[in-house]
Amino acid sequence: MKRSPGRAGAAGGAGSPGGLYAAPSLFWLTVFFLAPLAIIVAYSFLTPGPRGGVEWKPTLDAYRAIANPSFARVTLNTIVVAIGATAVTMLIAVPCGYYMARSSRQTLLLMLVMIPFWTNFLIRIYAWIAILGNEGFLNDLLIATGLARQSVRFLYNRGAVMLVLVYTYLPYAILPLYSTIDKFDFSLLEAARDLGASKLGAINKVLLPNIKGGILTAFLFTFIPIFGAYAVPLLVGGTDSYMLGNLIADELTKSRDWPLASAISLVITLVTTMGVLLLLRANGTSVLGGSGDGEKPVPEASSAAAYGAQAIGGSR
């Protein structure tokens, strides 16, 4: 992003090959993102057809229906689940990424993170059902060891939904974090320590700011898909775990109210877009490039020195 003005300037005179380079991604974005989005926006303002589809009569009915408090409840539930599951994912993913980056057996650990992808997503959900069920593996173990006298119900509630979501999206958080931390120059931590920062202080003020990009990428990679989760709440959720994704599917296929489904989809898109924009604004523009090669060691070093100095100033 930072480089683009310079490039455009240089290329401007030479018949702008930049536009040519951008053509494939522009085409991709238009056909598979902007056009569908436009259809969704248009549908959300139309009248539902008698048996699915839409009639070309503009109305705000779908948005009136969304104003209904029951939608607020589902949205709230979705936000709670998404934030909770993302937070837990991050808490596990940061130390994992750190350990992997520091380990001498990186390839092996990377393989281990990837292995779950070899098995179909739905089969892995069913595996959780087999583990957590009332007659499942975990309950058998608890009863056999005398830790529980009756089987405990782990499944079909919000906790189960969050657990399986965390499990599903953990690799998506670990991988960007690992790649960012792997590029981090750990001698900076020693430098911070030399300058008087405590161990935790060095991590807080030197490591975390430098892997900020990776953390945010990991956050977005987990939060956005979890916010639109459908299969997990459907299979391991109970009567109280209904999420926006399920609502959209039901409106589309069962109630056959396409405008309403479109309007809810737009709400999801808006919430996630706003979240992303806020995060980007709060963290400067380098965020998404953080896991790439955009950052040079020089600013890192200078920021480490600055943080080190700050740490000294703060602690003495």
Partner: protein
């Protein structure tokens, strides 16, 4: 109905690979419920007639209908339930059946045909299977219950019961438990039914149409609302005696799945041939044996080797789900949405 995409895909592949006859083989495109017709029955049809059958499968009427409306053309036969037969007739999506080409229609039980309201006189549809969702109870875990919808009021079974994730089935059950029709258009009655479901809801683990039969077979759930064929196909064969499958005495919503020929079908002649084949007594018996369901095919019943899990007499109080029409559908949708999202 069952939803297993993998096996459906396998069935489709198997059907495709059957093209043994050289030259221009006759073809037939069948859009059918998953797990509804055993593969060997279709293979035998190809052996007998040389007509190659390409199977595509769906898991719900809504899925089938949405695909057709969204432009999924090229199918010759679809197998909608009654309410969707009337919708598709109204939308002009079906071709009239040429009864002269389906002599085996005479095999279908006149008593079953008499109950049909969605296509009186069967101008567009040929009855295939008639069934209903019922209640299955694991007798080793639950006792002292009545064959009634009131079983879902039992708080002592809280966390061990599921109902279908299906608006018509659940609201239909509640309406029947109140003595109303499963197609009742009266808003006050629908509201009453909603309150009944709200009363059941705290005792239910979930509304589930996908995996309840697995959970029931695993002993996780003890009382489930669902289709007999799903419950029994999943349940270990040697322990099927533990299952009490019944239709609550107040009545249930029921359905008739029928063969229909799509408007403008390219292979209409082959389609009629296939429908007639499916109504042949020996074939009807094989299908019913596979599903362990009673057959609407009268001579077919005598050829069945498996005892069906219920008889049509049990469905005496049941009622076909009809198309509700736009206004009433909205009423049901709103009630169901309130139940699902928790007010």
């Amino acid at each position: 109905m069952n939803k297993r995409i993998v096996s459906a895909a396998l069935a489709a592949v198997a059907a495709l690979s059957l093209s043994s006859c050289g030259g221009k083989a006759e073809k037939l495109y069948l859009f059918n419920w998953m797990y509804y017709i055993p593969e060997d029955v279709i293979e035998d049809f190809t052996k007998e007639t040389g007509i190659q059958v390409v199977v595509d499968a769906y898991a719900s009427n809504e899925e089938m209908y949405n695909k057709i409306v969204a432009g999924g053309s090229g199918y010759d036969i679809v197998v909608p339930s009654g309410d969707y037969v009337s919708i598709m007739i109204a939308e002009g999506l079906l071709e009239p059946i040429d009864k002269a080409l389906v002599p085996n229609l005479a095999n279908v039980d006149p008593a079953a045909i008499a109950r049909i309201g969605f296509d009186k006189g069967n101008r567009y549809s040929v009855p295939f299977m008639m069934a209903a969702a019922g209640v299955s109870v694991n007798k080793t875990r639950v006792s002292g219950y009545e064959h009634s919808w009131s079983v879902f009021d039992r708080a002592d079974l809280k966390g061990r019961m599921t109902m279908l994730d299906d608006m018509r089935e659940v609201l239909g059950a509640a309406l029947k438990s109140l003595g109303y029709s499963v197609n009742d258009p009266d808003p006050a009655h629908v509201e009453e039914a909603r309150l009944v479901v709200e009363r059941w809801k705290p005792n239910l683990v979930k509304f589930d149409a996908e995996s309840f039969s697995k959970g029931f077979a695993a002993g996780e759930f003890w009382v489930v609302q669902g289709y007999a064929e799903n419950v029994f196909i999943e349940y270990p064969e040697d322990r099927r005696g533990e299952v009490d499958f019944f239709f609550p005495k107040e009545g249930t919503p029921m359905y008739m799945d029928s063969f229909c020929v799509m408007k403008g079908a390219k292979n209409a002649a082959q389609a009629h041939k296939f429908i007639d084949y499916m109504l042949r007594p020996d074939i009807a018996a094989r299908v019913s044996d596979y599903l362990m369901l009673p057959s609407p095919n009268v001579p077919g019943r005598l050829l069945m080797k498996v005892k069906p899990n219920y008889s049509f007499d049990d469905l005496a109080n049941s009622e076909f789900k009809e198309d509700l029409g736009q206004e009433t559908l909205k009423l049901y949708n709103d009630a169901w949405r309130r139940i699902r999202v928790g007010n």
